[in-house]
């Protein structure tokens, strides 16, 4: 801010205006420059997000199916789409399933990510390089490719998982069905998602751990604190902003995740009995060509994600204000 003010003042001097007018310009400049600086960003966001969002809201208030699509003309029906979605049993079941699914995914990702980060901080240099290269390799794997590899590994006919488990005499896993029930289907998806999400979380947390001052840890050791106590009272509070950001991002990603469940479970096994929100949206909006209803579901999802992450976002804002 100070930088902006002095630039404006310098400009005033160069133009050779009177002292009074210059100070007025400086004051005006001091107020306007920050807004001018963020204007391009605000404008861009308004253009690329605002218009689609406006269109989405309008669509959610219309009957817009295949018939309307061909004529490019929806029929206004007020809040009927919202009423129909909110009275749909499938919506509530799907919402509950998705919330539990998200909690499991985010919880596992954060805990395992933290553990790996702590491990990274403890191991020797070469091992750390090996471990973090492994993580980066996982990170760089495109989602669709990862899904395909997992599907092959867990294949009913020739999957390597079944083969290895059988050879290790864990049991007879020949032709074991890994996608037989909703629970096992979603567990496999969770495994895949957590595996794919760990690198980002672990590496970010590891970077955060590097910020924990050593003298603090040493002081704690001198005072007789160790292990869990040090982690809880020193490391965790320092990492808090990073943990909050990672948790909020994970909630947003996992709540709306589509690619992994849709491809790994496979379209022919998708039924209302194993819907996640994004799949419910896709099936109702696209497969049934009911775009108005699809828009309604996606707006409701936006609200729900907002509610789910509001706690984290508020805390993050508070940290920002405090410092």
């Amino acid at each position: 801010m100070a930088d902006g003010g002095s630039t404006a003042a310098a400009a005033g001097t160069l133009l050779g205006t009177s002292r009074r007018r210059r100070s007025a310009a400086a004051r005006l400049g001091r107020g306007a420059v920050p807004y001018a600086l963020i204007a391009p960003v605000v404008l861009t966001i308004a253009l690329i997000l605002g218009y689609p969002l406006y269109f989405l809201v309008r669509l959610s208030l219309q009957r817009y199916g295949l018939f309307e699509l061909i004529r490019h003309q929806g029929v206004d029906i007020g809040l009927a789409n919202y009423r129909s979605v909110l009275h749909d049993q499938i919506f509530w079941h799907t919402l509950l399933r998705t919330v539990v699914f998200t909690a499991a995914n985010v919880g596992l990702t954060m805990v395992l990510g933290m553990l790996i980060a702590l491990l990274l901080a403890r191991v020797s240099g070469p091992v750390r390089i090996l471990l973090s290269s492994g993580l980066v390799l996982v990170w760089s794997m495109p989602v669709v490719v990862a899904v395909q590899v997992w599907a092959w590994m867990t294949s009913y006919e020739n999957g390597v998982v079944n083969y290895v488990l059988t050879e290790l005499h864990v049991g007879d896993y020949t032709q074991h069905e890994w996608y037989g029930s909703t629970f096992s289907q979603l567990s496999m998806v969770t495994l895949l998602i957590v595996w794919g999400a760990l690198p980002f979380v672990a590496i970010t947390l590891y970077a955060g751990l590097a910020q924990v001052p050593n003298d603090l840890l040493e002081a704690a050791a001198v005072d007789g604190a160790a292990g869990w106590r040090v982690f809880r009272d020193i490391t965790l509070p320092i990492l808090r902003p990073i943990l909050l950001i990672l948790t909020s991002l994970s909630i947003i990603w996992d709540f709306g995740v589509f690619t992994q469940p849709y491809l790994l479970i496979g379209q022919s096994k998708i039924t209302p009995g194993n819907f996640l929100m994004s799949i419910y949206l896709f099936e109702d909006g696209y497969f049934k060509s009911d775009y108005g209803r699809g828009a309604t579901i996606s707006l409701l999802m936006l609200v729900i994600v907002g509610v789910l992450s509001v706690v984290y976002v508020r805390r993050m804002v508070r940290i920002g204000v405090e410092t």
Partner: protein, 414 residues
């Protein structure tokens, strides 16, 4: 200050990530001197030479007009088509599966071809199953392209080794032969007849074989038939048959894995599927032959699903006359003969021959021609029912009842 700006950036990223769930679309405008044709990849892998020669003929008849053939896959071509209906740049000719037609005809997505019908070769003799799928409200919107039935592809060497001298003439005989095949092939996971658990085309064949059905229209309202005693008898027979002959996953569909891959790995003595499955059975090509799947009454054949494709002209096309001319060339008698030579069923009765595929088509069934039928397929109601029955999660009766109610409520949607 620094920390605050980091938090601010993160907040912006959060908002952006949350909003990124919205959709996007792109539009493309077609030029006047070209027509765009959407065919399924079956044509790309099966008869690209026919497509090329038809395009050549079309272009010599219409100098200066180019044909842009774009191959689509069954899984997502309708979603893509919907997008072009909204945004433009869609095809002038589109291949549609015969079970997909009704929804689009009802919505007014296709141009009325009734007045042009007489110009298509053999249109008076079109296969009734296909012609019916292209008609709605007394008007013709779809031109039959080709059909295909499902047959048994089998290993002659394994059948011989098991001492099977005569091909099974009933499902009971098939089960007995399956025991012999199993006795000769002890490898775990070996299927005497590979049927994917949720292959509803096979399962519904049993339902129709026992006199049942999927749904019927009673005074304007759809009524589910799967819970009728005859349908339940068919589903029970399917469950018993599957348990005796197939070691496929009880919850997988007929493309994951492709049955011919299982067969080519030596894990099956026979498989059920389109007749073109014989394409992909290396290294057993020399020991492979086909026959018509028998029904439960000795000497009859199992009613098979008559799959097929129609060609339609979207209302959004700005070159409808050219599109109709192209369809004329692509479904001409000589084109249909080429398709027949590739193992397909031609679109008219006067062209029918006596291949195993064509004999299997003699006893066939078709899905209810309801506007919302495609929602039943996409909603996997039948597949889910079969998985429930085969895994024993629900009894045949419970699963059939719930599927039947479900189907009726989907079909009766406004």
């Amino acid at each position: 200050m620094k920390r605050r700006s980091i938090v601010a950036v993160c907040l912006a990223a959060l908002v952006a990530a949350a909003l990124a769930a919205t959709t996007s679309g792109a539009t493309k405008k077609a030029t006047a001197a070209s027509i765009t044709v959407w065919l399924q990849t079956d044509a790309q892998s099966g008869w690209p030479d026919l497509v090329a020669s038809v395009n050549q003929k079309f272009q010599s008849d219409h100098p200066g007009v180019s044909v842009n053939v774009q191959y689509q896959s069954w899984g997502d071509h309708l979603q893509k088509f919907d997008a072009t209906l909204a945004g433009g740049g869609g095809p002038d000719v589109i291949e549609m599966g015969n079970t997909e037609m009704t929804k689009y005809m009802a919505a007014g997505a296709f141009a009325d071809l009734t007045s042009a019908k007489g110009q298509f070769d053999n249109s008076a003799n079109w296969l009734s199953g296909l012609a019916k799928s292209g008609r709605y409200g007394g008007k013709t919107y779809g031109v039959p392209y080709y059909a295909g039935s499902r047959v048994i592809t089998y290993r002659t060497d394994l059948f011989k080794k098991a001492g099977i001298k005569k091909l099974p003439s009933s499902t009971a005989q098939y089960v007995a032969d399956a025991q012999r095949l199993l006795a000769q092939n002890k490898k775990k996971g070996f299927s005497p007849l590979y049927i994917a658990g949720t292959d509803w085309y096979v399962a519904m064949g049993f339902v129709f074989d026992y006199g049942g059905g999927i749904a019927t229209q009673v005074s304007g309202k759809w009524k589910g038939l799967l819970a009728s005693p005859k349908s339940i008898a068919g589903l029970t027979a399917f469950k018993n048959f599957f348990t005796s002959v197939s070691r496929a996953s009880k919850t997988t569909d007929e493309t994951h894995p492709n049955p011919y891959d299982v067969y080519a790995q030596g894990q099956a003595a026979s498989m059920v599927g389109p007749s073109w499955f014989s394409c992909c059975v290396k290294p057993y090509s020399a020991q492979t032959a086909q026959f018509v799947m028998p029904g439960h009454v000795a000497g009859t054949s199992m009613p098979g699903f008559l799959g097929g494709s129609d060609l339609a002209v979207p209302v959004t096309s700005s070159n409808k006359a050219l599109a109709i001319d192209w369809i004329k060339d692509f479904t001409s008698t000589s084109s249909e003969k080429t398709l027949q030579a590739k193992g397909n069923i031609p679109n008219a009765t006067n062209l029918l021959g006596t291949t195993v595929n064509e004999r299997a088509a003699a006893r066939s069934w078709f899905v209810p021609t309801a506007k919302h039928w495609v929602d039943v397929e996409n909603g996997n109601i039948l597949r889910n029912m079969l998985a429930q029955i085969l895994t024993g999660k629900l009894s045949v009766k419970q699963a059939a009842q719930s599927a039947s109610d479900n189907i009726a409520s989907v079909l009766n949607q406004p």
